[in-house]
Structure formats: C-alpha cells, structure tokens
C-alpha cells in the first residue's frame, strides 16, 4: 500500500475515541453485562452439578463428560446450532457463553471439594454434621480458593469469547472490531481490542479483591496463586 495514495489510517487515535464515545460506551456496556450475566448463571448452574458429582461419585463422569463435549464444540458452531432456534441476538450468545464457562467452573469446584483435608471432614462428621450441612458449611468454604481460581479463568475467557457474538450480531466490543475490519478503520479495531484486554484485567483484579474480602483467613493468597498456576 502506498502511503501517498491513502489517507492516514493510524492504529491509535484519541480523536476516534472522543468522536465515538457514546458508541463505545454502548458496546462496552453490552460486553460487561453479557459477561457478568453469563458468569453468574454458569456459577449457579455449576455449583449444584459439582456438588452432585462430589456427593454421588457415579455422576462425576457423566457430568464432566457432557460438559467436556459441549466445551469441545467450537463457538461458531455452537452459535450456528443455537441460532435457528433461539434467534439472532442476546439469548444465543448468552447460552453459548454459559456453556463454555461451565466446564472450567465444574472442574474447579469439584477439585476444590475433593481436596478438602479428610481430617477436617472427619472432625465435622464427629461433631454430628449431616451430608448437606457439611457440604455447605465445611466443604464449600474450604473449596473457595479453587472455586475462585476457576471463576477467574471462566471470567477472563468469557470476556474474550463475547466478541464471537458478532456472528449473531450481538458481540459487544466485537461489533466494533468487525465494523472496523469492514470499513478498514484501524483505530476502531485497536481501541476495541485494548478495551477487551483492560476489561479482562479489571474483572480479574476485581475477583481477586472480592475473594480476599470473602476469605480473610491466612492461606488464601498462597492457595490462589497455586491453583491458578
């Protein structure tokens, strides 16, 4: 491409950001709300499934297997399989995002539950804790570091995955990337990319801080670092 022939097309342009502030805010908002909603729903679905797999071990293989198969289906294909039924738009993207977050969450919750020190569960049993009470009051709190690690991975992945929603016209910042590609507007693609990375980072830090607030006990920081490694 000859520079003399074409108008300037910089990768970074503050002017673009200022002129399209409303547009960017709209898509950023869409991105954030989709991510939040997907991760929360996935967590709500994953918790009972992981608890089931933990308390009834014969369900562990089918639960993990199904989540694994769903996870293997490429996002584009999943949207293609869903769109004819759930239509073009938010619902399709949301279902896809939840499906992909499920495997990471179930796996991490299960590992956390299974990693609880047997001496602790023994002690709880000795104190007369029933199965349900033990799960809620002893095992789940002990599994929190692993759950948080899973939540971090799921959230960061979801932030990136939202962009694939462009195939059904609802991809948050991905819409800006795609529009920038269509009109060959470099600054638009770059701005959306940077915002995506920043959003992932902010979400990750937010979860870590939240986890620290929820788990004031001492080992949390070290355990977090270990389980995410």
């Amino acid at each position: 491409m000859l520079r003399a022939d074409s108008p300037p097309n910089p990768w970074f342009s503050w002017q673009y950001v200022e002129r399209n502030r409303d547009d960017i805010a709209t898509y950023l908002g869409q991105h954030v709300s989709l991510t939040l909603e997907a991760v929360v729903i996935a967590l709500v679905v994953a918790l009972p499934l992981a608890a089931l797999a933990h308390t009834r071990p014969r369900f562990a293989a089918p639960v993990l297997g199904t989540a694994g198969v769903l996870y293997t289906i490429p996002s584009l294909a999943l949207f293609a399989l869903l769109a004819p039924y759930t239509g073009i738009g938010r619902v399709t993207v949301l279902i896809g995002l939840v499906v992909y977050a499920l495997l990471v969450l179930i796996r991490n919750i299960l590992v956390g539950l299974q990693g609880v020190d047997p001496a602790v569960t023994d002690a709880a049993r000795g104190m007369g804790y029933g199965r349900a009470r033990m799960l809620v009051q002893v095992e789940l709190p002990q599994a929190l570091p692993s759950i948080v690690a899973g939540l971090r991975v799921a959230t960061v992945t979801t932030v990136a995955l939202v962009t694939v929603g462009v195939v059904v016209g609802y991809g948050g910042l991905g819409q800006l990337m795609f529009r920038g590609f269509r009109s060959n507007y470099h600054a638009e693609i770059m701005t959306a990319t940077i915002l995506c990375l920043v959003l992932a980072l902010v979400a990750d830090v937010a979860i870590v801080l939240l986890a620290k607030a929820v788990m004031p006990w001492s080992r949390s920081a070290r355990m977090l670092a270990e389980t995410s490694a």
């Binding site: 491409m1 198969v69 293997t72 289906i73 490429p74 996002s75 584009l76 294909a77 999943l78 949207f79 293609a80 399989l81 769109a83 004819p84 039924y85 299960l110 590992v111 299974q114 990693g115 020190d117 047997p118 991975v153 960061v156 992945t157 932030v159 990136a160 995955l161 939202v162 962009t163 694939v164 462009v166 195939v167 059904v168 991809g171 910042l173 991905g174 990337m177 795609f178 920038g180 590609f181 060959n184 470099h186 693609i189 770059m190 959306a192 990319t193 995506c196 990375l197 992932a200 980072l201 990750d204 995410s228 490694a229």
Partner: protein, 253 residues
Amino acid sequence: MDIVNDALTWFNDPLNWTGKNGVVELTEAHLRVTLYAVLLAAVVALPAGVWLGHARRGGTLGVVVANTTRALPTLALLTLFASAGLFGNTATVLACAIFAVPPLLTNTVTGLGDVDRDVVDAARGLGMSSGRRLREVELPLAVPLVAAGVRTAVVQVLATVPLAALVGGQSLGTIVVTGFALQNYGQVLAGGILVAGLCLIAEGVLAVAQHLLTPRGLRESSTPSRGWRRQRGEPSAVAVGAPSGSNSSMPGA
C-alpha cells in the same frame, strides 16, 4: 422442524459437497490451515519449552503467556492481522499459531520440569551427560504431557479456524458465515454440525493417539509424576497434597 429439514436438504445436495467451496474443499482448507498453524506454533514453542523445562526454569513465564492469550480475543487478532494487509488464510494461520503456543509451551515446560528429581539424579549418577539425560530420561517421561499439549493445541486451532471465515479465511466456518449472511438457517445448522463434528472426531482420534504414544509404564494414571510416586509408597507428605481420589488409599485414613 423446518430447519432440520432444510439442513438435511442442504446435506443431500451434491453441489454442496463437491466443487468450489464444497464441503470437501473447505474441509481440506480447514485441515491445511490447522496443520500450518500448529506446525508454526510447535517450531517456536517445543524447543523453547524443552530448553526451559530441562533447565527447570520458566514456570511463571508459561503462566503469564497463558493468561495473556486467554484474555486476548481471537477475533481481535484476526481482524488486526487481516486489516494490517495479510489476506486470506495467512492472517488465520498466524493468529491461530499464536493461540496454539500456550498449551504447547506450558505442557512441555511442566512435563520436563515435573520429572522426579530423584530420577534425574540417578541418571546423573549413572554418568549420563545433560543431553543424554534429556533424550533418554526426561523426554520419554514428559511424553504424556507434551502429547496432551499437542492435542489441546490441535483441537483448539480446529475450533478457532472457523472464526476466520468472518475475515475472509476459507474453512468449514465459511458455510456457517455464508448461511448467516443469506439468512439460510438450514445451511447454518448444517455448517454448525460439520464444524462441531470435525472437532469432536479430531478430539477422539487424538485421545487414542495420545494413549498409544504414552509409554506403557506411564499409562496407569493421567498425572505421571504423582502416580509414579504413589506406587513407590512415598511418605504421606505427597499423599496429603494429592487433590483427588487418593484419600481412600491413604494408609492412615
């Protein structure tokens, strides 16, 4: 079930299978792009991983690389490369190769780094040189994890390539994207089935290949070093730390 019928009709049309942009040609393109991307990533990641793992360094580097690429949307890289002047499948190969590096790198580093220190010490005591230790002791023990990394990378690239259809790359994803553009949901569904099928079949075939590649002595457990230690009855420090399934086999439990 109109859409299912539409999809079946689409599958039944021989013109959709042969010729330009037929299923056969697109599958070939899909596999070719995947092969190039994985090879490109392997050329970079495997030697680097072997070097770092053999030197027992780079654990944190792997985590940083993995976390960064996880946050970077595929679509971002694809659109960036495509509008930077890389046309067609070149952008796809490059973008997919970048995403294939982390699983290859981290698994190779972990695979070599997790080889039991006692085993390496024994090899050194037998008078093996550093290179021979790597070739005859560390690499064979690392094979299961490296193979797992290759499998993850291949399946991930196979799943990423279809996205490139959005920026003009050729693959089975083209069928889906064209279907959406034409609002022909039968075709969309058919394309989705083809892409999902390809990935699930690849995952199955590679699982078998990984099993066959793993030396017989290591096949018992999926986490080689841990299982190996347990067989030798290493004291409880390890058994307590083992996260899953080992509780019942603990001597004191």
